[in-house]
């Protein structure tokens, strides 16, 4: 088990960071967040065609780059650091993973190359209003109709759901098993509307299925395990995204207090500020360790990893979301009044921290999930 990144991984990270600094500074983030689609198609095209970010963990046989979850999580971390508004998380991290985990070879050949190339944006419609990502509570149903299936039910919090041309939906088979289905977003019987997201850089949609025709990915036994693995990988990548954002908040707050003078001295010279900064560093470092360890464990069947991925992924999600929110609260406080203004960038990350806190389930949900999978 390695705790550090390879040279290639570091190079990939640096390249992405430079690209996002150049192409998606906060002025751009603010501009794009005001647009109807919520992302910049030109940046998306460059990320797909020039950087290959949309293809990272998709196997080469299906048009992907064949890298691992560690590389995917690095991309998520850099996207979180830059607060990049893009369908990367919804399409590449969530929907592509679900297809790769559940689909037959033919389905993967048909669906994944488009996502890997960036030309297709996909979304995973799994969570439901109120009960969120708890699969036991998924109530949407699927009934067979010849070779296809008909889906009925309401899905919510669908990340990048309005941008998607391809939808992967979770629904219950007549015998209660969980199935994952694919269908075009413009299918008859599927209607969607944008949800008013508090975080304008994270676009959510609601989808209503009223007998929409869909294909079952894989067989009737594929959906359950594929969903579990998809949730693990999404949690690992979200943890990466969150530690990226938390580190950025921490650095910006430190930079601000270092130039701010009150009572004739730098406010960074006050011990109360120094100690808060030290605690923030500690918390972010602990959360990073969790996120990196879980990502490495997702790639590696190392004997040294003594916990199942689900335990480690949920541990990372819980600790990173607590840390992100706490860091955001500290960061606003360290900025003082200006930190509460719309014009100060801190609020952008604060809102992302808030949406990340509950996206995929709360920290408490994931601590419970961690213990359910924990091998003592």
């Amino acid at each position: 088990m390695k705790f550090s990144f390879s040279e290639e991984q570091t190079e990939f990270r640096n390249m992405l960071r430079r690209f996002l600094q150049d192409r998606s500074p906060t002025t751009e983030v603010r501009r794009v967040a005001e647009t109807e689609t919520g992302y910049d198609p030109e940046i998306w095209r460059m990320m797909a065609e020039e950087l290959g970010v949309t293809a990272i963990h998709i196997p080469e046989a299906y048009g992907g780059a064949g890298f691992g979850i560690s590389e995917l999580a690095i991309a998520a971390e850099e996207a979180g650091r830059a607060l990049l508004p893009s369908p990367f998380f919804g399409s590449t991290v969530m929907a592509a993973t679900a297809i790769a985990e559940a689909g037959t070879d033919a389905q993967k050949l048909a669906l994944l190359p488009g996502i890997a190339g960036g030309g297709t944006i996909a979304a995973l419609a799994a969570a439901e209003p109120g009960t969120g990502w708890n699969a036991d509570a998924f109530a949407a149903t699927a009934r067979p109709d010849g070779d296809s299936w008909r889906l009925t039910g309401r899905k919510s919090y669908v990340l990048d759901g309005m941008a998607a041309g391809l939808v992967v939906a979770a629904a219950r088979l007549p015998d209660g098993r969980l199935g994952l289905f694919s269908l075009p977003a413009d299918s008859a019987g599927l209607s969607r509307r944008p949800l008013q997201s508090m975080d304008p850089t994270r676009r959510l949609a609601q989808m209503d299925f009223d007998g929409a025709t869909a294909d079952l990915l894989g067989g009737p036994d594929s959906g359950g395990p594929a969903w579990a693995r998809t949730l693990d990988i999404a949690a690992v990548c979200l943890a990466g995204e969150m530690v990226g954002g938390a580190e950025r908040l921490r650095e910006d707050a430190l930079e601000y207090v270092s130039m701010r003078m009150q009572f004739g001295r730098s406010i960074a010279s006050f011990q109360v500020t120094k100690h808060k900064a030290a605690d923030m560093l500690l918390e972010v470092e602990l959360a990073k360790a969790a996120a990196y360890y879980a990502a490495a464990a997702a790639d590696d069947d190392d004997e040294e990893v003594d916990q199942p991925l689900s335990a480690l992924a949920s541990l990372a999600k819980a600790t990173a979301s607590d840390t992100y929110m706490q860091t955001a609260i500290h960061a606003v406080q360290m900025h003082g009044g200006i930190g509460f203004t719309h014009d100060n960038d801190t609020q952008l990350w604060f809102k992302r921290a808030k949406s990340s806190e509950v996206f995929l389930g709360t920290a408490a949900d994931h601590r419970e999930r961690m213990l359910q999978h924990w091998s003592a």
Partner: protein
């Protein structure tokens, strides 16, 4: 010697051990033989009981000892700090007089640095050493001195110049503890153990030749001792019990280990004992209680992430980054781990958390955890000091304003003692 290969070292030590190792010898007799051979401390210089081998060869030598179950030189307790300090700063006289007794285990040591008025601020020591009639006369009080109640010698930091600025007015002495003017009292802690002592000096004497390092250079020498202490050279990072083999030499070694480890019997408990949580919750019948599960999960998460963070730092070092102030992050993490564990243990115990001994349901182990965890955020540098180190050395924030480095020490505001 220094350019021996690993195989040559392995063959050399194996050959010597095959000829000489005999578990029926007395411990001191064996160690004297071992010291003469140079295999007891192979990384020490050849003229001082070693073989001048690189430190990296030590594990190779130790492996060969372990294969035979051969006993090594005494290397636990404060004696290792004494050895490191004397090797680096001592005169030939000091090395001649003390090193062998340290390695045979016949003479034990204590560290006399902290004072009631200077804990975090060690260099503020006010124990005085005055030079009278060719001898140093020591007066004052030290505290938190592990093993002082049975030590033969002490590593003493004392003030020799009150007109110099703080760090330049200290000197370092090798003090004979077996004199009537040195009084040792055990200090009872809130967890009931007495792991430390207070030491009082009333005209105690150090002969002129037992000052170590130059006059006024005590802080520099103390830095060596502290560096080795931080590296865990005091051998207490892991709780040791000694070999369980039968034989006279092992019995003697076990007795030595028991004496050295006695102050640390509660150390596992001060970490919070994350390892006990799940089993305890199951045994107590509250493993399905959601509130308990949340507390246990938080504690396990912190314990794991602290461990992974330490491993990240170690791996970064192995890849060539120098050992930095990351140790402070680990120290601070240990404090929050211990507190989270204490909360989780309390949640599991419920009202039994009020009880101790046979009545707390764990033979007093949990009660000991609950009253021992406060030590972890104080001992070895308080959390507040660690936060200063992190903010100043890692985050490059401004240093604390101080009022002790710009004037003679006698003018520095300080605690009133006695």
């Amino acid at each position: 010697m220094a350019d021996m290969t690993e195989d040559e070292v392995r063959a050399g030590v194996r050959e010597w051990l095959t000829e000489n190792w005999d578990p029926d010898r007395g411990l001191v007799e064996w160690r004297n033989l071992l010291i003469d051979s140079g295999w007891g401390v192979p990384h020490w210089p050849e003229e001082w009981h070693g073989r001048g081998l690189p430190v990296g060869m030590t594990p190779v030598v130790e492996e060969e000892f372990d294969k035979l179950g051969a006993v090594g030189v005494a290397k636990m307790g404060i004696r290792t700090l004494a050895a490191a300090t004397i090797l680096e700063h001592g005169s030939d006289l000091h090395k001649q007089r003390f090193l062998r007794g340290i390695l045979t285990g016949e003479e034990t040591w204590c560290q006399l640095f902290s004072e009631p008025g200077s804990g975090s601020d060690l260099a503020g020591a006010v124990t005085r050493a005055d030079f009278r009639d060719g001898k140093w006369i020591i007066n004052g009080q030290k505290v938190w001195n592990t093993s002082a109640h049975h030590a033969d010698f002490g590593l003493l930091l004392a003030r020799t110049d009150w007109d110099a600025v703080k760090h330049q007015g200290l000197s370092y002495f090798l003090l004979d503890m077996r004199q009537p003017s040195v009084e040792v009292h055990q200090l009872k802690q809130m967890n009931g153990h007495a792991s430390f002592n207070q030491v009082f000096f009333t005209d105690a004497v150090v002969e002129a030749e037992y000052r170590i390092g130059g006059l006024g250079e005590g802080w520099k020498v103390a830095t060596t001792t502290l560096m080795h202490e931080r590296r865990g050279a005091d051998g207490v990072r892991r709780y040791a019990t000694g070999s369980d083999r039968a034989g006279r030499i092992y019995e003697e070694e076990r007795a030595e280990v028991a004496t050295v480890m006695a102050p640390y019997v509660w150390y596992p408990q001060r970490t919070g004992r994350a390892d006990m949580l799940i089993e305890r919750a199951k045994a107590a019948g509250c493993w399905e209680d959601r509130a308990v599960r949340q507390e246990v999960a938080k504690a396990l998460t912190l314990a794991r992430t602290a461990e992974w963070t330490a491993r990240r730092a170690r791996e970064a070092q192995q890849m060539g980054r120098p050992q930095g102030p990351e140790g402070s992050i680990g120290k601070l993490a240990a404090s929050i781990v211990a507190r989270a564990c204490a909360r989780a243990h309390t949640a599991i115990s419920g009202p039994d958390a009020m009880l101790t001994g046979e009545d707390d349901g764990t033979g007093g182990v949990v009660a000991e955890i609950l009253v021992s965890t406060p030590a972890i955020s104080i001992a070895g540098g308080t959390d507040e000091i660690q936060r200063n180190i992190i903010s100043e050395r890692i985050l490059s924030m401004p240093k604390e304003l101080r009022h002790d480095t710009d004037r003679p020490f006698r003018d520095v505001p300080r605690n009133q003692v006695g």
